[in-house]
Symmetry: C2
Subunit: 428 residues, 2 copies
C-alpha cells in the first residue's frame, strides 16, 4: 500500500511544525516528507487531503491492562481494599481466553480513538492479548504479570514464542519479562526472572512503588530495602526496563533508575482516582530519569484517554510544585512519543521522519477547541481531546478514521459480545 | 416545534436511569416522558431515534470567560505575573465589540461540543456577549466584571437592559451583578454595588480567594478581613451569589458561605494549570456549602471541556484527601446540573422532568469508552468525553448534533474570522 497525505502540517522530530507538507507512506514506513507538490504524477492506493490538519507521531500508552474494560464503572468510589477483593479479584479469577480476547479488542478500540498506536499491556492470558493485537493490527508489548498466586507458565517459553508470534516477528506483538510487583512475588520467582533477564540481556518491567504501604511493607520484609532496591539487588534492572507508577521513590531509588536507565511510567489518572498520590516527575527530571505515560487499566482510570493523561501529567506537577512554569508541552510529547516508543520496544516509531515506522495520527484542528491556531503543541497537550483524533495509522494501516474502526471486527458486534461475555462472567 | 426522542435511556431527576423511554419536547419545554410507545399516532416535526443512547440534563458551565479563546495556547508555562502582564492585559486592552462577539461564538461552540447548554460568562463588552448568545441560541448569564482600572458603565442600566435584552426576557440572556475581585476594586465601588444588590434583592458573583496572595493582601488592606469577610461586611452577599474559585477560604469564610447560601464555583482545570491550588471541596460538603463547576477562561485552562472538569473535581479530592471513596459520580452531576442551573439563573432547567426547560444532551454510548454498559453515571463522570456528546439541545432547539453546529453561523466562517481578528489584534 502506498498512501499520500497531502496539505498536511507535520510535527517533525523536534516537535516543531512543518507547514504544507506531503507525507508518503509505503508499506509500514514513512517514505518521504516534502513540501506540498502541486503536480504529483505518482500513483497511490489512496490520497488523503489533510486540509491543514496536523500529522503527529502516534501516541504510546506505556502502561495499561486493556482487558480490564470489563470492570469499568462496575464499582467506583470505594476503599481500595474493598474494591480489589470484592470486585476485581473474584471476577478476574473467572476470565476465559474468549473474555480476554474480546475485552482486549474493546480496549484496543479505545486506545485507537485516543490516537494510541501501541500499548504496553500487562494482563492475563498472553495468547488472547497477542491474538487481539494480530487481529486488529494494533501494536502490543505484552509485559508478563507473574505473581505467586497464579500458576507460573514458563516465561522463557513465552519470551521465545511471543516474540515471534505466529510469524509476526515483533512487528506488532512483543513480549518483555515482567512481574506483577514485589509484594506479590517470592525470592525464588525474582531469581528465576533475573536469570532470564541476564540470559537474554533484556529489560524488565514491574509495578513499582505505587503506594506508600507497598514500599513500607517491602522494607519490613527486606531489611529496609525498597522495591527498587530489591529489584537492583537481584539484577532485574541490569538491562533497563521500567517501573509502573513510580510514585514513592526515595533518592537512592532515583539513583538506581538513573544508573540503569529505568523509565518511570506515570499513570496520573489512575493515581488520583485511587488516591495513590502524585508522582514526583520534576525530581525525575532533575535526576535525568526518563518518564513515559500510561493510562493504567480502565477499571481504575476509568478511561483509556491519553489526552487526559497528558494534561494531568503536567498540571499535577504545576499544582503540586506551586509553579505554573514547569513541564511544558514538548516535554510531555517527548514522554508519550519517544519514551513511550522505547517502552513498547519500537523506537523506530517514536517520531515522524523518513524511514520511521508509519505510526501516525491526524489531529483535526477544524474543531473549536483547537482554534484559533496559536501554538499547536500547546493546544495538543492542554486543549485537545479524542474529538480531535481524525485518523490513527498503525504500521502503515489506517485502523481508525472519522469515528470508524478498521480492525477486522465490526464495532457493534464487539460491544454486543463484550456485554454478553460480561453478563455470563458475573453470573458464573 | 415538537420533537420526539424515542428509544432513549433517560437520566431522571435523581440521576437514576429510566430505560426505554420516549421524551417529547414542545416549544422550549419537556412535555412528556413515558415508556416507549410502539404505535404513536401523534405528529412531530422530528422524531429522533436514540437507539439506546442516554438523555441527560444539559451541563452548566458556572464560570468562564468564553471570549478568551483568542488567548488559548498563545503562551503557556509561564510565571503567572509574566503571563498576565505580557500576554493577557495588553491584548485584552485592544479588544473591540467585533472581536468579543466572534470570540464568544467560538467559545459557545466549544461549550456546546462539551454538552454545555449555558454558561456564566464574565468578560468585557456585555452587549457583544449578549448578542452572541441571542445569535446562537445559547444561554448566557452575564456576570459583570467591574474593576477600578476600567471605565465603569452604570451596572444598574445593564441590569435593566440586559435582563430584558432585545425582548429576550431572560430566556437566553441574563445579567447578574458582579465585580472582578476585591483586589481590583475600591470601597466606593463595593458600596455602589451593594446598594444595587439591596435595591433589587439579587445575588452577587465575584472571583474570590483564587490565590493565597490575594487573600493575604486583602487582609493587609482590610485589617485582617478576607475577601469573603469584606463582601459580607458591605452586604454584597446578602441575597446569595457565588465565589469563583474559592480555594483559600477559612472556617469563618465557610460559615459566611453557608449562612448566605453562596455557591463555591470550582474551576479545577485552571487551578491546577495556573498552580493556584486545590479547592477544599470536602470541607464545603461538611459545611453544607453548594458547589458548582466552571472551566474558567480558555486562556488558562486551555479548553472548555466540562468532562475534564468533572473528572478533575472528584479525583483531586480523592488524591488530596488520600481517600478514593470521597465524592461520587452523582454528587458531581448535582454540581454541574442542579447547582450550575442555580448559578446561571435557570433552576427550571436543572434536571430532566416534565415541565422543565428542554436543555438536554444526548450521550452516545456506542463508543468504546462507554462499554460495556455497567454503571452509566460512573461512566459519565469517569470515562465520558466530548466524543460522547451526540446532540446538545438548548431551550428546545438542537444547536449541536453529530459534530455540526446549528447556530446561525457557519462553523468554518467562525474559525476563519477568529483567526483574522486575532491576527489584526496582535498587529495593532
Amino acid at each position: 500500500m502506498k498512501i499520500k497525505f497531502k496539505n498536511a502540517n507535520v510535527l517533525d522530530k523536534n516537535f516543531d511544525v512543518l507547514e504544507n507538507q506531503d507525507l508518503i507512506v509505503e508499506g509500514n514506513r514513512i517514505k518521504k516528507i516534502q513540501n506540498t507538490v502541486k503536480d504529483d504524477n505518482a500513483t497511490y492506493d489512496r490520497v488523503i487531503d489533510c486540509d491543514g490538519n496536523y500529522l503527529i507521531p502516534g501516541i504510546k500508552n506505556a502502561h495499561t491492562h486493556n482487558a480490564m474494560v470489563f470492570l469499568r464503572s462496575l464499582s467506583d468510589d470505594l476503599p481500595l481494599g474493598e474494591w480489589l477483593t470484592k470486585y476485581c479479584f473474584p471476577n478476574e479469577a473467572k476470565l476465559t481466553y474468549e473474555d480476554i480476547y474480546y475485552f482486549t479488542i474493546l480496549g484496543i478500540m479505545e486506545n485507537l480513538s485516543s490516537g494510541v498506536v501501541g500499548s504496553m499491556d500487562m494482563y492475563l492470558d498472553l495468547h488472547a492479548m497477542a491474538d487481539a493485537s494480530l487481529k486488529t493490527g494494533f501494536r502490543v508489548c505484552i509485559c508478563d504479570t507473574i505473581q505467586k498466586f497464579n500458576k507460573i507458565i514458563s516465561p522463557e517459553e513465552y519470551f521465545i514464542e511471543l516474540n515471534n508470534y505466529k510469524g509476526d516477528n515483533g512487528n506488532l506483538v512483543k513480549y518483555v519479562y515482567g512481574m506483577h510487583a514485589e509484594y506479590t512475588n517470592t525470592e525464588e520467582i525474582i531469581k528465576m526472572l533475573s536469570d532470564l533477564v541476564h540470559k537474554y540481556k533484556v529489560p524488565f518491567f514491574v509495578h513499582n512503588s505505587e503506594t506508600k504501604k507497598e514500599v513500607d511493607e517491602c522494607k519490613e520484609r527486606w531489611g529496609g530495602l525498597t522495591p527498587t532496591q530489591v529489584f537492583e539487588k537481584f539484577g532485574l534492572y541490569d538491562f533497563g526496563g521500567g517501573g509502573y507508577h513510580s510514585i514513592y521513590l526515595d533518592d537512592k531509588d532515583m539513583e538506581i533508575y538513573k544508573k540503569h536507565d529505568i523509565i518511570a511510567v506515570t499513570c496520573p489518572g489512575s493515581n488520583v482516582k485511587l488516591a495513590s498520590g502524585i508522582a514526583p516527575i520534576l525530581k525525575y527530571k532533575d535526576y535525568g530519569i526518563k518518564v513515559a505515560i500510561g493510562t493504567d487499566g480502565p477499571a481504575s482510570n476509568n478511561a483509556i484517554d491519553m489526552f487526559r493523561e497528558m494534561y494531568l501529567t503536567t498540571t499535577l506537577q504545576k499544582v503540586s510544585n506551586s509553579d505554573p512554569a514547569v513541564l511544558n508541552a514538548k516535554e510531555i510529547l517527548n514522554m508519550v512519543m519517544i519514551n513511550g516508543a522505547k517502552c513498547i520496544g519500537h523506537s523506530d516509531g517514536d517520531v515522524i521522519d523518513e524511514g520511521k515506522l508509519a505510526d501516525i495520527v491526524m489531529i483535526d484542528v477544524h474543531k473549536p477547541n483547537m482554534q484559533p491556531l496559536n501554538t499547536f503543541v500547546n493546544n495538543l497537550v492542554y486543549s485537545a481531546s479524542k474529538t480531535n483524533v481524525k485518523l490513527t495509522m498503525v504500521d502503515g494501516k489506517i485502523l481508525y478514521e472519522d469515528g470508524k474502526y478498521f480492525i477486522n471486527e465490526d464495532e457493534n458486534y464487539i460491544y454486543k459480545k463484550c456485554n454478553e461475555l460480561l453478563k455470563n462472567l458475573l453470573n458464573r
